[in-house]
């Protein structure tokens, strides 16, 4: 399909390059080759030519060289039967177009009177067109591009079908903090003119900037972007690869083509693709969907006006920021601990005596409408004071980088997000939620819709990297809640099974955690699907999500790489990561052994496993235990011994979950080595331990694990083992 576009673009570019070539010739004839040409108050000459080619054009005589360059860049116009891929030549044609426009606009400044209001930030009544921004404006506004206050710009060519639509589009773009650069016309009208007619204030201050009515004036948008790359990216003039890459990665700009797309527009749009700026059109033109140069699609067309802004944002990969949570009550961590007693309560939702469900799922981008919040059933104000109602919250997210694995992680956040609102008490997750809304919150006008507002704002601000769109459905109608609950339970079951089915062997990447290096400088946690972080707080999926959310944070992907020792759990990639990350102290790391290069500990472990040499097994003691253990050391003594990021053979700090893992010290004999643990811990983990006992084919193994009631010294442990016939007695010596 793109063949048609690119053919048109190439055709357009030929026309433009030839036109400009002629204009240059004429100008040289009229003013002579030494006539100075410049854009007002800039150190970047003609910015596209300076940035891309590194040629400083200061006088007319410098231009023919550039014209020549453009001509060489022009590909031949493809004939109708030619089906070769066109993107490459199309991009060249586009580049030639933009270089030519750069000259064409510069020539305008030789005209008298000037077509533009020079060196002004804002339009006045007489002058609508501002032309090129000078360096002062470029710097001031460029700062906003870099710091994110303005993520980018929409370069709009043409005009909306009517003034009202023009105003709507402009407003919507302003709300997203984008700059709107306007040029060219559709049927003799430019969008800026439409806005002016409607009394909209135009200029850099309102971020609605009319450049000029010619299509060539759109070049000021590109000139701006190119200068930003040089000024803020430190890119040297002429280093076009870096200039283009800077723009693609950092300047969230796109072209919005409103109206019939001419060859000339095609040519310019093709040029913009070089910068990574896609084109979104309202007319029905062919699309260029495959990604390549731009982050996502290149040309998306036939977009209705009411969706054009959100589509543009999606295609360009722009992230939405919601600065403030828009609720009538105070919002912040300070209210997380707030209790709402019966007397202060307006209404109770879910809880033990009503149905409740909180569910987060993901959907394709075009199925989610960002910011949409729907309530089915009565709102809080319509509920009788002191009454109890069922509640269902469905959060549907979509994102280019969203993965199904992240759903449970997002779902867990609902609790915190809602609880931060003053006057909202929230307990639990999934189908065990329990909420109360206070009378005070009701007085301030709190509504069920605000749940949606909170979740929309917070998911955007906390999970920007993985979530692009958030939609929230809230149900207070019993049968609707039931429907959601049934659906959610099916998914939860699948999720739990999937999590249980994740194995170390099935993945090629583990995740690191160096959160604790602040006090254990050389400690590195390696989190695998079957061995969560030793604090118990981070499993492999959390690590994965944390990395997506914060790529420079403490959780980094660790490629397993070549297997060094399958049994011990040693991989080349892991060792290569651990050595520098432990500041050159840990040479090698075994995931599955307590005796051989065991993992280090920071100090946050949920429990400690210790070898009992004479019992030929291991004992496990958890943080809550205060008694003396058979190894002769209490938990706190042990903690002092194994913590601090040191490799201590015979000792590992670990999570409770790891005890039930198939990989639990599997290199040293695994689960069967467990000979002792505190009674409280044993009972707490009973289900898991019994299940593992069955898996290893010793269904009564659970009863063979001694507790402090059976043994308090190593000798007594051995005695107990003999009594119950503990399998470790028969195993090969641990050391």
């Amino acid at each position: 399909m793109s063949r048609i576009i690119l053919t048109a673009a190439i055709r357009g570019s030929h026309a433009i390059v030839n036109r400009v070539a002629k204009k240059v010739e004429e100008a040289i004839e009229k003013f002579g080759p030494d006539q100075k040409v410049e854009l007002p108050n800039t150190g970047y000459y003609l910015p596209i030519i300076w940035g891309i080619l590194g040629i400083p054009v200061t006088k007319l005589g410098d231009m023919p060289r550039v014209v020549e360059y453009c001509k060489n860049l022009l590909p031949p116009i493809p004939d109708e039967k030619n089906w070769l891929p066109y993107l490459g030549p199309g991009l060249d044609a586009g580049m030639a177009t933009l270089l030519s426009y750069d000259m064409e606009e510069a020539l305008k400044y030789l005209e008298d009177p000037l077509p533009y209001l020079p060196l002004a930030e804002d339009c006045d009544d007489e002058h609508l067109w501002l032309g090129a921004a000078d360096d002062r404006i470029m710097r001031k506004r460029g700062v906003e591009f870099v710091d994110g206050t303005a993520p980018g710009f929409a370069a709009i060519v043409g005009a909306a079908p009517d003034n009202e639509t023009a105003v709507k589009i402009a407003k919507e773009l302003q709300e997203k903090n984008l700059y709107v650069f306007m040029a060219s016309d559709h049927n003799g009208v430019n969008m800026a003119e439409q806005l002016k007619e409607e009394g909209v204030q135009l200029g850099w201050t309102t971020r609605l900037v009319p450049f000029g009515k010619d299509t060539s004036a759109a070049i000021h948008a590109m000139g701006f972007a190119t200068r930003v790359a040089m000024a803020f990216g430190g890119v040297k003039p002429g280093d076009y690869v870096k200039i283009l890459r800077y723009n693609k990665n950092r300047v969230f700009a796109f072209v919005m083509a409103l109206g019939h797309v001419t060859d000339e527009w095609y040519a310019a749009a093709a040029g913009c693709i070089n910068w990574g700026f896609p084109t979104i059109a309202d007319s029905n033109i062919p699309q260029i969907l495959p990604t390549g140069v731009c982050t996502y699609e290149h040309v998306v067309s036939n977009v209705p006006h009411d969706q054009i802004v959100s589509k543009a944002i999606e295609v360009r990969g722009l992230k939405i920021q919601v600065a403030k949570v828009p609720v009538p009550v105070s919002y912040g961590p300070a209210f997380e601990g707030e209790r709402i007693g019966k007397d202060a309560m307006h209404v109770e939702l879910a809880g033990p005596k009503a149905m409740g469900v909180e569910f987060c799922t993901s959907a394709p981008l075009d199925e989610v409408q960002d910011g949409k919040i729907e309530l089915v059933g009565p709102d809080f104000k319509d509920m009788e004071e002191g009454s109890r109602h069922s509640l269902g919250i469905l959060v549907t997210v979509a994102g280019r980088k969203m993965q199904e694995d992240f759903e449970p992680i997002l779902e867990r956040q609902i609790h915190h997000f809602l609880n931060w609102a003053e006057g909202v008490l929230h307990i639990g997750q999934r189908d065990i939620i329990w909420l109360r809304i206070s009378k005070k919150a009701m007085e301030k006008g709190f509504s069920a819709i605000h749940f949606g507002k909170i979740l929309h704002a917070r998911f955007h601000s906390e999970f920007n990297n993985i979530v692009d769109k958030i939609q929230v459905n809230i149900y207070t109608e019993e049968d609707k809640v039931k429907l959601l609950l049934d659906k959610a339970r099916t998914v939860w079951k699948e999720r739990d099974e999937r999590l249980a089915g994740l194995t170390d062997d099935a993945v090629d990447t583990f995740y690191s955690c160096t959160l604790c290096q602040s006090f254990a400088p050389n400690h590195v946690c390696i989190i695998t699907p079957e061995r969560p972080g030793l604090c118990g707080a981070y499993n492999w999926l959390d690590g994965k999500a944390a990395y997506e959310i914060n790529p420079t944070g403490p959780n980094q992907p660790v490629k397993k790489g070549e297997v060094v020792d399958e049994k011990l759990g040693k991989w080349k990639g892991v060792d290569e990561f651990v050595y520098p990350t432990s500041h050159n102290t840990i040479q090698s790391f075994s995931a599955y052994s307590i005796m051989n290069d065991p993992m280090t500990s920071c100090g946050c472990f949920e429990c400690i496993t210790v070898v009992l040499p004479m019992a030929n097994g291991v004992m496990i003691v958890d943080r809550d235990s205060t008694c003396m253990t058979p190894c002769g050391m209490t938990f706190s003594t042990l903690a002092g011994t194994v913590g601090g990021g040191l490799q201590t053979p015979g000792f590992i700090g670990m999570s409770k979950f790891y005890i039930g893992s198939k990989k639990f010290i599997s290199a040293d004999g695994g689960f069967k080595r467990i000979v002792w643990m505190p009674k409280a811990l044993k009972e707490q983990l009973k289900d898991m331990l019994v299940k593992r006992s069955e898996e290893i084919g010793i269904p009564d193994f659970y009863d063979k694990i001694a507790t402090e009631e059976d043994a308090t010294t190593e000798e007594e442990v051995i005695e107990f083992m003999n009594k119950v016939g503990h399998p470790a007695l028969e195993m090969e010596p641990m050391m």
Binding site: D147, Q517, P554, H583
Partner: protein, 316 residues
């Protein structure tokens, strides 16, 4: 057989950061050995000392600290000049304390104009810091960058919550960034990476690791700094090879040891010397752990510290 001194040669080197422009320039960092270990490597630039100036007359200062500036506390420009002309400050650090939104809430424009005035009236490079309110500091620093375009000031404090604002303005208007992280090696590195990703050249960043005074957490700062320097030098960690600065006077002079007079604490001894020594000893600890830039207050503490630096590095 003669003893061969065990020397340490490191793979890495701290970047050299240049602050200021034209004939008022100060260079930081550039060394490739641990503090004071001139036998191991080169120290092209010794630790520098900046003197503090506040944008409004300080309240609650120890009398000993106010004395040297008594005549200028109401005039930041005169204060800065005195710091340079009388007390030989190598740099001046302007604290825009009154921009604090919970205090006087002076606007960014006004603050930036003052920064420019101070910068224009002194012959040494200027450091400009805000009130410590991250959001407002971002706004103020950005404005300072704009108003003082091209002067290559050291502007801050960039923290995780405002680094984009300050970083962007610093890039756009040609300044260096003072980046503060909460007393943790990895967080320090992370902020450097974030600034780097934003486009701030790494040789335009100075790290502030969060500074505790003697008796008030100096041991944390000390060890974090040693770890940063070691990561930079021995592990050749590119993202750590930035000079360190310490905003220390504010911390030292608010301690009770530097403020309580001998009547209140009879066992503490002479107040005036005690305060000076508290500052100077904190400074010495920071020198030993790897600072390249100290923000100090009392001229006598500065004199002592400077002499220590010269003796340690130059054998004076």
């Amino acid at each position: 057989m003669a003893f061969t001194p065990p020397l340490e040669k490191y793979a890495g080197k701290i970047r050299e950061v240049v602050i200021g422009k034209g004939d008022k320039v100060v260079k930081l960092g550039g060394h490739n050995a641990m503090p004071g270990c001139i036998f191991d490597g080169d120290f092209p630039n010794l630790p520098k000392i900046a003197l503090e100036v506040f944008d409004s007359a300080p309240e609650d200062w120890a009398p000993e600290a106010i004395k040297p500036y008594e005549d200028v506390v109401n005039d930041p420009v005169a204060w800065a000049k005195k710091a340079v002309d009388v007390y030989n400050a190598e740099l001046v650090c302007l604290h825009l304390k009154s921009t604090d939104p919970n205090g006087e809430n002076v606007g960014a424009d006004e603050a930036a104009q003052l920064a420019k005035k101070v910068s224009d009236s002194i012959s040494v490079p200027l450091i400009v810091l805000g009130s410590g309110n991250a959001e407002k500091d971002g706004e103020v620093a950005a404005k300072v960058c704009e108003v003082c375009a091209g002067q290559n000031l050291l502007v801050g404090l960039a923290v995780e919550d405002n680094y984009k604002k300050i970083g962007a303005a610093a890039i756009g208007y040609g300044h260096c960034v003072a980046a503060q992280s909460p007393i943790d090696v990895n967080l320090a590195k992370q902020l450097n990476i974030l600034l780097d990703n934003l486009g701030v050249p790494l040789d335009k960043i100075v790290m502030e690791p969060s500074t505790g005074a003697l008796g008030y957490g100096i041991e944390y700062t000390y060890s974090v700094m040693e770890r940063i320097e070691l990561a930079a030098l021995s592990q050749n960690d590119d993202k750590m090879q930035l000079p360190i600065m310490n905003i220390m006077a504010v911390e030292t002079w608010k301690t009770r040891e530097a403020k309580l007079d001998v009547d209140a604490e009879p066992t503490f001894g002479d107040l005036s010397k005690r305060g000076i020594l508290w500052e100077a000893m904190t400074a010495v600890d920071l020198i030993l752990s790897g600072t390249s830039l100290l923000i100090m207050r009392h001229p006598e503490a500065v004199r002592l510290t400077k002499e220590i630096i010269e003796e340690l590095y130059l054998g004076k």
